[in-house]
Amino acid sequence: MPPDFAPPPEIVCTGVGKTFDGGTEAVQDVDLTLAAGQTTALVGPSGCGKSTLLRMIAGLEAPSAGRISIGGAPPAETLRRAGLSVAFQDPSLLPWRSVRGNIELALSLARRPVDTDAINQLVTLVGLDGFADTRPAELSGGMRQRAAIARALATKPGLLLLDEPFGAVDELTRQQLAQDLPRIWEAQGTTTVLVTHSVSEAVLLSDRIIVLSPRPAKIVTDITIPLTRPRTTEMGRSEEATDLIEQVFAALAQGMAAAQRPLAAQ
């Protein structure tokens, strides 16, 4: 039986690039080391290739250049052990299964025992009390995303990959989740990679923010977030946080400007 808490892995990307069959270059020459147990946010303009980078770390997409290692092994190895969870942009809940059924499916796919109490706790944690036996069609978009987050957490993965997990969640719930979720992945000691559009959310959730340029995604800046944990919504409004948010915005603008210069020159 696999250990209850898989040890969080270190992620090392060396010269990682991705060019799709059609010739579109999505990611270019990314060198990155993410420490075990840290939370890292990938921030960049839409369509820049940050989701592609996340999918390569998950092992769902093979890099066309460079190498990725998860705890010293290729991503495919982590996949095979079911050592990671992905919360996709689209909640991807199977419509014929209830919230509980979808979580149970993840557990059975990952070959983990089904623990009803643990599932109930997760459902409560994401604020879906009373909806465990509801089918996705009857939930709102935000509720579906929360169900998908609960599913991703259920297997207690060593590596948690979140692709815009709060896109359709309303602002209040978002704040609540931003407070609660880090506690879980801290308790489980998860290495977490988060793709997001929201700069303030990135600052509040992560230990480190990687700002990516427009396509093909290259690293513009690497910003460490020194805010203490546990974090609260109020901390997100502090002067320190506001400064960090300013820094990220400046880096995003710098990446945009650098990408537009060659265009203007044409």
């Binding site: 996949l79 996709f88 689209d90």
Partner: protein, 527 residues
């Protein structure tokens, strides 16, 4: 108090909504009864009361025949659907084979039952063999197509999810594909059940000892109006019941109604390999044809292979004569087939539009149309001939009716697919119903319309050949029946080849037009 009123109002509304569908059926029965009473002396129409009386008097005869036909249809239904599942599994396990598998399946589906019936009769001799094979042949394609669509109906992210837990194709097949394909499978089965009954009946036309088809042939020969109408009514009732029963089963198993459209277009990808696949299908078909004759050591007088057919058409002394006979017959058939096909499509399309413009009509007409769509129209061929005579009108109407119902149902379904938000945009500009129809609803309907038009090609060929065989004595259907009874197997096999290839070409032609139009109006359908 107010909630109570609202609830009871809701209940009243639900009850009246439940009655609506029956209204159409009651009107139909009343009209039929009235016409039957008025036309008593014309000997063409038996009223429902006559049918009921005949049924009460002859119930033992009817029950025995029905039992036999139902049994054959059921066995054929199972065999055909198992074959469809196996073919779908092959296409899934080996995606590159899909176009060849569907191409061969289409060619076999286009075999004219009118000719395969007698050929199978010679092969099997007396017994239930031909009925069962024809029932299976009538069934497998209508299950295979939606199944193939259904197995691909799941979004990519569901497969990513399965992969992200380190699981492979089998887990995806089991947890995602199979479940996502279920509604499509039920759609196929729903169409297949009446089709199996039709196949069994056509098999019985070819000289069985017992069954509904045998009685039908007897009734036509004896000009027994009441018996003919009773048989057609029973066949219709069985078909509708089978359709409704599978629909009810589907609703218990599924979360939603099964999709109404038969199939979405086949993938448009890799057009450059299309010719290679077509030649491969042709080569495999010739190989299978020769192989079956050789392996079963069939009598060469009866079983003609590709070489003999080629000889008969091009090398034999009477080759030009054979060609003239076939061309004449095909030309005759085209004169019934083309107007009927076009009229059926136009009528289905037109009525669907009318029902959208006058929505109150649709709750009456829709259930009736769905019920009648399931009717094996061919079993009503004798009635159409009784009513409209043995001339062109009867055959054209039969073909048109065969095409009309599936087209109407598909178009109505397509019209309902109109995205609500786009309609809201039109509302915000105060656009009238005609503008909305032209700019939004009709484009949204086109995929469904073309899916129906494509499937209607083999169906209309079946209708026209059966009508020619049973009634008019003209065209390729009659030629096939005649050459079968005269043991002129050169002509029979040549006709089979010609009809199958022409039907498949017609199907492909409609598919090509479909792709052109969808590329403009519904590019998302061409994946």
């Amino acid at each position: 108090m107010s909630t109570l009123t609202a609830r009871s109002l809701g209940a009243v509304r639900i009850r009246s909504a439940n009655l609506r569908p029956w209204l159409g059926i009651v009107i139909l029965l009343a009209g039929w009864e009235l016409a039957g009473r008025l036309l008593t002396d014309a000997f063409v129409l038996a009223a429902p009361s006559d049918v009921l009386r005949y049924l009460v008097n002859e119930w033992q005869l009817m029950a025995r025949a029905l039992w036999v036909t139902l049994g054959n249809a059921a066995v054929g239904f199972v065999i055909g659907n198992v074959a469809a599942l196996a073919l779908a599994a092959l296409a899934l396990a080996w995606p590159r084979s899909e176009r060849v598998v569907t191409g061969l399946a289409l060619l076999v589906f286009c075999l004219p039952l009118v000719a395969t019936g007698p050929i199978l009769r010679v092969f099997f001799g007396p017994g239930n063999g031909p009925q069962i094979v024809l029932a299976a042949l009538a069934v497998y394609y209508t299950t295979l197509l939606p199944l193939l669509v259904g197995l691909r109906a799941a979004p990519d992210s569901w497969f990513d999810l399965v992969r992200s837990y380190g699981r492979g194709r089998f887990a995806a097949l089991f947890h995602v594909r199979a479940m996502a394909a279920l509604p499509y499978l039920f759609t196929g089965l729903q169409i297949a059940a009446p089709a199996a009954f039709l196949g069994a009946m056509v098999g019985e036309f070819t000289g069985a000892e017992r069954g509904m088809g045998v009685l039908t042939v007897r009734a036509i020969r004896a000009l027994d109006v009441e018996m003919t109408w009773t048989l057609a009514t029973v066949a219709t009732a069985v078909a509708i019941l089978a359709y409704v029963a599978i629909g009810a089963l589907a609703r218990r198993v599924l979360l939603e109604e099964p999709p109404v459209i038969l199939a979405t277009p086949i993938s448009a990808g890799a057009q450059r390999t299309a010719w290679r696949d077509v030649s491969l299908v042709g080569a495999l078909a010739l190989l299978a044809w020769t192989g079956v004759i050789w392996m079963l050591e069939l009598n060469p007088f009866f079983a003609k292979g590709p070489v003999q057919v080629f000889e008969a058409l091009f090398l034999a002394e009477d080759a030009s004569e054979t060609r003239t006979i076939l061309t004449t017959a095909l030309t005759e058939t085209a004169q019934f087939l083309v107007p009927g096909y076009v009229a059926g499509l136009a009528a289905g399309f037109g009525l669907a539009i009318l029902l959208v413009l006058v929505p109150s009509l649709s709750s009456i007409a829709m259930p009736l149309a769905i019920a009648l769509r399931s009717v094996p129209i061919v079993t009503t061929a004798p009635l159409v001939v009784l009513l409209l005579g043995r001339g062109a009108a009867g055959t054209i109407v039969l073909v048109a009716v065969m095409v009309f119902f599936p087209t109407l149902v598909a178009c109505l379904h397509g019209l309902r697919q109109t995205p609500g938000q786009v309609l809201d945009v039109f509302d915000s500009y105060a656009a009238g119903p005609v503008k909305r129809l032209i700019h939004v609803r009709i484009p949204a309907m086109l995929p469904a319309f073309f899916a129906a038009a494509r499937m209607a090609v083999p169906a209309s060929v079946l209708a026209v050949t059966v009508a020619e065989w049973l009634a008019t004595g003209a065209g390729i259907g009659s030629l096939m029946a005649l050459s079968a009874s005269l043991s002129d197997y050169d002509v029979l096999w040549s006709a089979v080849v010609l009809v199958s290839v022409l039907s498949a070409l017609g199907y492909a032609l409609v598919g090509t037009i479909e792709r052109r139009i969808l590329a403009v109006y519904a590019p998302e359908q061409l994946t």
